[in-house]
Each structure stands twice: as C-alpha cells, then as structure tokens.
C-alpha cells in the first residue's frame, strides 16, 4: 500500500485547486477503506474565510455542523489538540472528557451515515490547529495496519491545502510585536496592566496601549480572548504561560 500513498504524495504536489485535492483525497481514502474524509482548520468556518475546509461528508451533516458553529468544539477536534499523532475515534473517551453535547454530536453523525474514523492532527506553529479525518460508514471497520499510511496522507494533504490557501491569501497570520507578545503572555497569566507595567518596567498606559493594539490585530475586545487567540494560533505557547 505504500506505493499508493507515494503516488498520492507525488500527485498532490502538482495540484493547484482545492477541488482537485478533494478528488485525490477521496480516491486515496477510498483505497484505504474510508468513505469520507474531512480536512479542516479548527475554527468556526462561517466567520473565518481563510480557514481551510475540504470534505466529502453528506451535505446535510456539514451544513448542520456549520450552523451550530461546531468547528472549534467538535470532540474530535478537541482531542486532536491534545496529541500530535493520529488516533482512532474509538479512543476519544480516553483523550477528552466527553460532554453530553459531544455524545449528541457523535450520535447525530452516526445517524447521518458517519461511523468510525481516524483523525490526523495538523499543528503548525503560527497557524490555527487543524486536522485531516477519515471516516467509514456505520458498522464498517478500518484496518489498524493502515494507520501509519493515513498519517502520511493526512499530513501531506494538509500541507497541500495550506499551500493552496497561501496562494489565495498572501496576507499571512496575525503578527504581534515582541512587546505586545510579552504583554499578552503576562495578561494570560492573570496579571493586571499595573502589574505588567511593574514587571516590564514601563508605564501602565504603555501596557494598555500594547494590549489594545494586540486586541485590534485579533479583532477582539477582551484580554481573555486575545490570550486564547494567541495560544490558539501559536503566537504564544502554553509553556510561556505556565512556566514558573
């Protein structure tokens, strides 16, 4: 089966459109025993026009999913934020605490014809988290032996999608200045403007200014949100915040 994946990797290198990528992914997923694939950034796609999302899920399911703004809260997406290697959906309960809402989503997916699956997380520093998932019809199983191959397919497909998106939107990710970044890290640690000013040896007004500019770059109005956005896209790291 490696030759099949090798051929896929060589193919996607030449592809230029998301439609072509979707076709290649559907083919290789099918050859590996999966009916569906979904390659996506973990954001609310209705509000983030630059987000990647390519899939061949049943139409009604994807629409419902978007209507509920589930992009960032889907349990599969949450689980893929806590690992860097692929996982079978059967592992979900061991990876994240499933809420009643999560169980409802999984149940609804099954009703829509989406059974067991395998997800490859895609974390690139400085970019929103994402993943590439493969799913079977309910009652069908996939071969455990294919998991390493799915990892390769998922990673190379995600990078191809990033390349295509970059060609379309050349603006690039949000960038903070070093000072703004420091202020956001201290804000994420729960420090007030006054405390941050003391730590950095600048005036409270300057800290306020740095944070205000950081809010503007992310288009948010609260310090909690700017911290979450900066963690989410990798501008600051969890270790920056948690380090003592």
């Amino acid at each position: 089966m490696f030759s099949r994946v090798d051929a896929f990797v060589r193919d996607v290198r030449e592809l230029e459109t998301e439609e072509a990528l979707a076709g290649a992914l559907a083919d290789v997923a099918g050859d590996l025993g999966f009916r569906y694939f979904a390659l996506t950034h973990h954001v609310d796609v209705r509000r983030s026009s630059e987000a990647i999302r390519i899939h061949n899920y049943p139409e009604g399911w994807a629409e419902w999913f978007d209507e509920q703004s589930l992009g960032a809260v889907d349990p599969v997406h949450r689980a893929s934020n806590v690992t860097s290697v692929g996982f079978a959906w059967s592992m979900l309960p061991e990876m994240v605490a499933l809420t009643a809402q999560d169980r409802r989503i999984l149940e609804l997916a099954r009703k829509e014809g989406i059974g067991d699956g395998f997800t490859v997380p895609a974390h690139v520093p400085g970019d929103a988290h994402g993943s590439c998932s493969f799913a079977c019809a309910p009652g069908q199983a996939f071969s455990e032996q294919h998991q390493p191959l799915l990892q390769l397919v998922g990673a190379f497909a995600f990078e191809a999608a990033r390349r295509m998106r970059r060609m379309r939107y050349s603006a690039g990710p949000v960038q903070l200045t070093e000072r703004q970044r420091e202020c956001v890290i201290w804000a994420a640690r729960g420090k007030s403007d006054w405390e941050i000013a003391r730590i950095l040896g600048v005036s409270e007004a300057t800290v306020g200014e740095h944070l205000r500019h950081a809010y503007e770059r992310y288009g948010v109005g609260k310090r909690t949100l700017v911290a979450v956005h900066a963690l989410f896209d990798g501008t600051i790291g969890f270790l920056d915040v948690l380090r003592r």
């Binding site: 290697v85 520093p125 390493p148």
Partner: protein, 207 residues
C-alpha cells in the same frame, strides 16, 4: 551566527559551541524526549556517529553558545537510516555522495518559543545553503511523525520513503528532502528563509 564544523572539526573556535551543543542535545534528546542514547559524563549526548565523518551545522549566539544544530552524516558509510532503521524504507535507503543524512536536529531549550522559532528558521536556511554550496541534492532523515507537519510546513520538497513504524520513541518514519536552486525561494515564500548577510563561518577539520 551560523557555524559549520566540517567533518570532525572539534577545533579550537568551536570548543564552547560544541560543548554547549552536546549539553543541549542531552537536555533535548535524553531529558525531554527520553531517547535511550549514550550520555558522556552525565552531561553530553554523544554517540558512535559523532566521529570524524560527521559535519555539524550550528547556530550560535554572540558568546558562541549553541542555540540550534543538526548533525550531517554521509550516506556512503554507516549512518542511521541505512544501517539502524532500513525497515523504514520501502526500497533500499538512498545512498550516494550527493545524499546526506540529517540527524540530531536540536533546538536549545534555553530559549523561549519565539527565539526557538527564529533559530529553527536560521538552521533550516543554513541546511539549504550548505546543501547548495556543497553539492548535496538530497537530505534524508528519520523523524518522529509528531514533527512531520512542521517539517512539511517549511515549504521544501519532502516525500516519505516508506511506511512509518511505531518505535519506542513514537511513530517514526523516513523522509527525503530534495534541495534545488529554487528551494531558498520556496522557503522565503513560506516566510522561513533567514540567512544572515555574512556567510557562515566554516571550521575545517581538526588534525
């Protein structure tokens, strides 16, 4: 400052840089990633491939302390992919005078996330520069799949050499990276190209 220590140059200017490199390698590969590799004197991570055939590409700070590095091994003799993990390749591992293996890609933990990213960009750029300068057309390497997405996101031309295998350190695979004249351009398009105006300092092999 990028430094290239060519084949075994454990020479004078590199003493502090090499010492801090081997210390940082211990900190990253033994303490953090828990690799089962030899440690010298409880401080330095050094193995059988750290011999006179290895070339080191090192990014150092003004004091000469190591910030990031990669160890390059010729594939025309014993190396890691071809000799220790041949099962990671579907075909025989690529070998040749223009094929070099990247091993021990290491970013010092004595930096915050932003500096580490800067060092990483400089190291990757130095790797491409070195390949173009010295006639290397293909880099090979063994990588944990946890890093695969990041390696692909550098923008260079990368492909898998075989089916990844679950090893003690995690799901691991073999990769080949083709370096061409347009590779710097591609890295630049991804915002990664970062080579200082001054060319890297090359330290010749010590006697």
């Amino acid at each position: 400052m990028p430094i290239i220590v060519e084949a075994g140059g454990f020479g004078s200017p590199g003493d502090r840089t090499l010492r801090t490199m081997f210390e940082d390698r211990k900190s990253v590969f033994v303490d953090m990633l828990k690799w089962n590799v030899p440690v010298l004197g409880g401080r330095f991570e050094l193995d059988e491939f750290d011999d006179s055939h290895a070339t080191y590409l090192i990014i150092a700070d003004e004091q000469g302390d190591h910030l990031g590095s990669a160890r390059l091994l010729p594939t025309t003799r014993r190396h890691i992919l071809g000799n220790l993990f041949p099962e990671l390749c579907a075909d025989p591992a690529p070998r040749g005078a223009d094929v070099t293996e990247i091993t021990r890609f290491c970013l010092s933990r004595r930096q915050n996330a932003a500096s580490r990213r800067l060092t990483r960009n400089r190291l990757v750029s130095a790797l491409v520069w070195h390949a173009l300068e010295s006639g290397i057309r293909t880099y090979t390497g063994v990588a944990e799949l946890a890093w695969l997405q990041q390696i692909l996101a550098f923008g260079w031309d990368c492909r898998p050499l075989g089916i990844p295998v679950c090893l003690e350190c995690g799901m691991t695979g073999a990769l080949a990276i083709e370096i061409r004249r347009d590779t710097p351009e591609r890295l630049a398009a991804y915002g990664l190209w970062d080579l200082p105006a001054a060319p890297p300092v090359q330290i010749a092999q010590a006697a």
